[in-house]
């Protein structure tokens, strides 16, 4: 938070930018945050209609992140102690099912059912945690067994049947909107004076903003704020990090490591139970197969957020960003209407980018940063290349398959249905040949750019990098003329990143100098 008017150190704007940048990259969450921004911009370019960065859309993402988010928070603490909890998905499923079950079929009042669910979470955590902390069993094995035990228990106790719709009390953990009462009162004409104008404002901006302002999101954010404060200000928070970085050392220093590990596992299972409630608040019914594979999503979110799987280092806000990144991928790719199979590939790539940024960030080595930027430029060139390239390749492959099937038929083999499907009619064959012809120039040009960018990753001479950036820019005009407007954003971004990579060393030098001056 440097104030522009009064900078007591009298630093220039440039210096302050460098300081801000260093500060940003020191935060554990910067990798995930940067990936969120990059992905957001890409989706923004790919979608039409309401902007992707619309508050209402962001709140929808937060609402749907809530359940997995609180679980990932519990997982963060476990991983900081150098442990792991693979049972969270099953515990979530079991507590969700049982909470719904007792309220629907045993006539429990909702509040009692909720308490039952949370208590169940604590009990499971006490079981897992005791085995890990007091019996010395590996956390991986204990919770892997738990993954099976608690899922099975959930199915057994509820018969794996869905409950009817749950009572409205559960909405307070999910879809309940604090403004809905006000809006209703306004629409019924019950408000006067100031309340009337507030109600009018809410009603007018309902679809654009207030509709998605729901409890899920509020609980999610509130939970992270409270937990961060607790971890930062209590002995427990410090011990968790101490246990993770050096458990024997922590024990010798007089910390009751077993007790704090037990508490951590209990807390993690408790968050699984809380996550179950948040999920029930938005789901159609309660069922014991909820939360499948959530343990992997939670662990992914924690690691994307910069927490080390070896313990001792990490942050809750990193996890927060990690969860949002995972949900943002689903939300954004659905809005962009990307092909299903491409969504799978792109999801994996984005996770790699986020973790890649994090690793480079930790290396504190300017050459790694430069390489990363050059690699991003190469990826941009590749994405641009894919537009004509995919058409060219698909046409070429179709022709190849047709020829192969023809050859098999000529050789007198009986063709399977899969083979017959690959035979082309003369008109189709001609269409594919034209498509291949039309795209070969652009594909070849852009392939050259990919190769050049790939070369710069390893041989990053300044002049070469400038030439590469110029190459990106020069490519735009002919490609747009050829009708590939869609490649322009990739090329512009590639040029910017390539140019930026030339300044990495200067910025690092400057940052180190400022750091030395400050201390």
């Amino acid at each position: 938070m440097t104030d522009i008017v009064q900078d007591r150190a009298g630093r220039s704007l440039q210096d302050r930018a460098v300081v801000a940048m260093v500060k940003f990259f020191r935060a554990d969450w910067s990798g995930a945050f940067l990936a969120i921004v990059i992905l957001g911009i890409a989706i923004e370019l790919a979608t039409t209609g309401r902007p992707f960065f619309h508050p209402s859309n962001l709140m929808t993402i937060l609402n749907n992140s809530a359940a997995i988010g609180v679980i990932a928070a519990g997982m963060t603490l476990v991983i900081i102690t150098a442990g792991i909890d693979l049972s969270v998905g099953s515990v979530m499923g079991m507590t969700a099912a049982l909470t719904g079950y007792v309220v629907s079929f045993w006539g429990f009042p909702p509040s009692l059912a909720i308490l039952t669910g949370l208590a169940l979470g604590l009990a499971v955590g006490a079981f897992n945690g005791s085995l890990v902390a007091y019996f010395g069993m590996p956390a991986f094995i204990v919770t892997l067994a738990g993954l099976s035990i608690w899922r099975g228990t959930g199915h057994l106790t509820t018969g794996a049947q869905a409950t009817p719709e749950l009572p409205n009390t559960f909405d307070y953990f999910g879809r309940f909107n604090p403004f809905s009462g006000l809006r209703e009162a306004y629409n019924n004409g019950e408000l006067t004076g100031l309340w009337h104008s507030i109600g009018g404002f809410v009603d007018a901006n309902w679809i654009n903003f207030f509709r998605t302002f729901q409890m899920s999101m509020l609980i999610f954010i509130g939970f992270f704020i409270v937990l961060t404060i607790i971890i930062a200000n209590t002995r427990y928070g410090r011990w968790v990090y101490a246990i993770g970085s050096n458990e024997p050392g922590a024990r010798q220093a007089g910390i009751n490591t077993a007790r704090y590990m037990l508490i951590t596992y209990m807390f993690c299972s408790f968050t699984a139970a809380l996550g179950a409630l948040l999920f029930l608040g938005r789901a159609p019914y309660a069922k014991s197969d909820y939360g499948q594979m959530w343990e992997l999503d939670a662990i992914a979110a924690v690691v994307i957020g910069g927490t080390s799987l070896f313990g001792g280092r990490g942050s809750l806000w990193g996890t927060f960003m990690g969860v949002i990144l995972l949900k943002l991928i689903n939300n954004g790719l659905t809005l962009a209407q990307l092909d299903t199979f491409w969504q799978m590939v792109v999801t994996g790539l984005i996770i790699l980018v986020a973790v890649g940024i994090d690793i480079v960030r930790q290396s504190k080595n300017p050459e790694s940063v430069r390489k990363l930027l050059a690699a991003i430029a190469a990826v941009m060139a590749f994405l641009a290349c894919m537009t004509p390239g995919a058409i060219y390749l698909r046409a070429k492959i179709a022709i190849l398959e047709h020829n192969a099937a023809e050859a098999m038929r000529a050789a007198g083999q009986q063709l399977a249905p899969g083979h017959n499907a690959r035979l082309l009619s003369p008109s189709e064959l001609e269409a594919f040949q034209t498509a291949a012809q039309a795209n070969i120039t652009a594909a070849a040009l852009l392939s050259l750019l990919v190769i050049a960018a790939g070369y710069v990753v390893f041989r990053g001479k300044a002049l070469l990098t400038w030439l590469l950036a110029a190459g990106f820019v020069a490519m735009i005009v002919p490609l747009v003329a050829l009708g590939y407007q869609i490649t322009a954003p990739f090329l512009v971004l590639g040029a910017v990143v390539a140019m930026g990579s030339n300044f990495v060393f200067t910025i690092f030098k400057k940052a180190r100098m400022l750091d030395a001056n400050a201390s």
């Binding site: 794996a160 197969d289 689903n330």
Partner: protein
């Protein structure tokens, strides 16, 4: 029914020894899910058919939905232990093919239930004709909206023939009737949470969506949750389901769902095991048994409910 996979081979062995004593033939039944509402109806049909035919049913579900490796493992165990016939609902049409080939080569009849096998011959394929029913679904859905109004279609797993046929059938029939309507797809792997989040994302970013059509009723229920999360009431956005699952039929009575192409789920399990038992006795079995469908609309919901026993 909800037997743990790891116990499967032990259980198979035990049942085979037991069957030798009371001379009941063992039919292996590899199901796709023991926890999905629709699958529970199919499995019920399978159990009833086994009881009617006087055969012992060894039913095994995968460790989790979509787990091919556990299905292959169970398949091999059943073949090795000498089951008289095997009914299988493959989680992956092509992936199961080698195991099916081995069993057929060993002289064990294989009946595919619900999902076909590609790349191997089976004794019989007992299922809804998903493509044909999805075309009916698409044509009916088209009548519910005006041409030009955009809709959402929640897909099933596009790596499976069931998911592909339902999507293709729906899209073809719907586009033929409403050529100017945009179809926005929400991809899922038969997971209602994915359906809920995807539908919520699109509905929130666009105000003009007139209908949500679903490849299965788990998606329908997810779509209802998404509508409720955004404060919509029943009927604000039209809903079309597939499967005729009981919760979707209840939602139809409440005004949420406007049409549902119901598969005859119980019949699928029942006919599948009957065909397997007949093949095990060496009788001729039709290679394709279509179990039909029922178009459920608010006016036929009562008839359908009575037929499948929904209260």
């Amino acid at each position: 029914m909800k037997m743990n996979l790891k116990l499967a081979s032990v259980a198979v062995a035990a049942l085979l020894i037991g069957s030798a004593a009371n001379a009941q033939e063992v039919i292996g039944y590899i199901t796709k899910s023991a926890t999905n509402a629709g699958w529970m109806m199919i499995n019920q049909g399978a159990e009833d058919a086994a009881a009617a035919e006087g055969v012992t049913l060894v039913a095994v579900g995968p460790a989790f939905q979509g787990d091919l490796s556990s299905q292959l493992e169970v398949f091999e165990n059943l073949v090795a232990q000498g089951a008289a016939a095997i009914a299988v609902a493959p989680v992956d049409s092509a992936g199961i093919a080698p195991a099916v080939n081995d069993a057929m080569a060993a002289g064990i009849p294989v009946v595919a239930v619900d999902t076909g096998v590609s790349g191997a011959d089976v004794t019989s394929f007992v299922a809804t004709d998903n493509y044909a029913v999805a075309k009916v679904q698409g044509a009916v859905a088209a009548t519910l909206i005006e041409d030009g109004q955009p809709i959402i279609y929640v897909t099933g797993n596009q790596a499976q023939s069931t998911g592909q046929e339902r999507r293709n059938g729906f899209v073809e029939a719907f586009t033929a009737a409403r050529p100017n309507s945009e179809i926005l797809e929400v991809p899922t792997e038969w997971n209602s949470q994915e359906a809920q989040e995807g539908v919520e994302a699109i509905l929130n970013s666009r105000q003009d969506i007139a209908m949500v059509a679903n490849a299965w009723d788990g998606g329908t229920m997810g779509a209802i949750a998404a509508l409720r999360n955004l404060g919509y009431g029943a009927g604000d956005v039209k809903l079309v389901g597939f499967d005729g699952a009981s919760d979707a039929i209840v939602a139809m009575r409440e005004g949420w769902v406007h049409a549902n192409t119901a598969q005859m789920l119980y019949q699928m399990g029942y006919q599948g095991i009957r065909a397997a038992a007949a093949a095990a006795r060496g009788e001729a079995v039709s290679p394709r048994i279509d179990t039909g469908f029922f178009l459920v609309t608010p006016s036929t919901a009562a008839v359908y409910s009575a037929m499948v026993g929904i209260e």
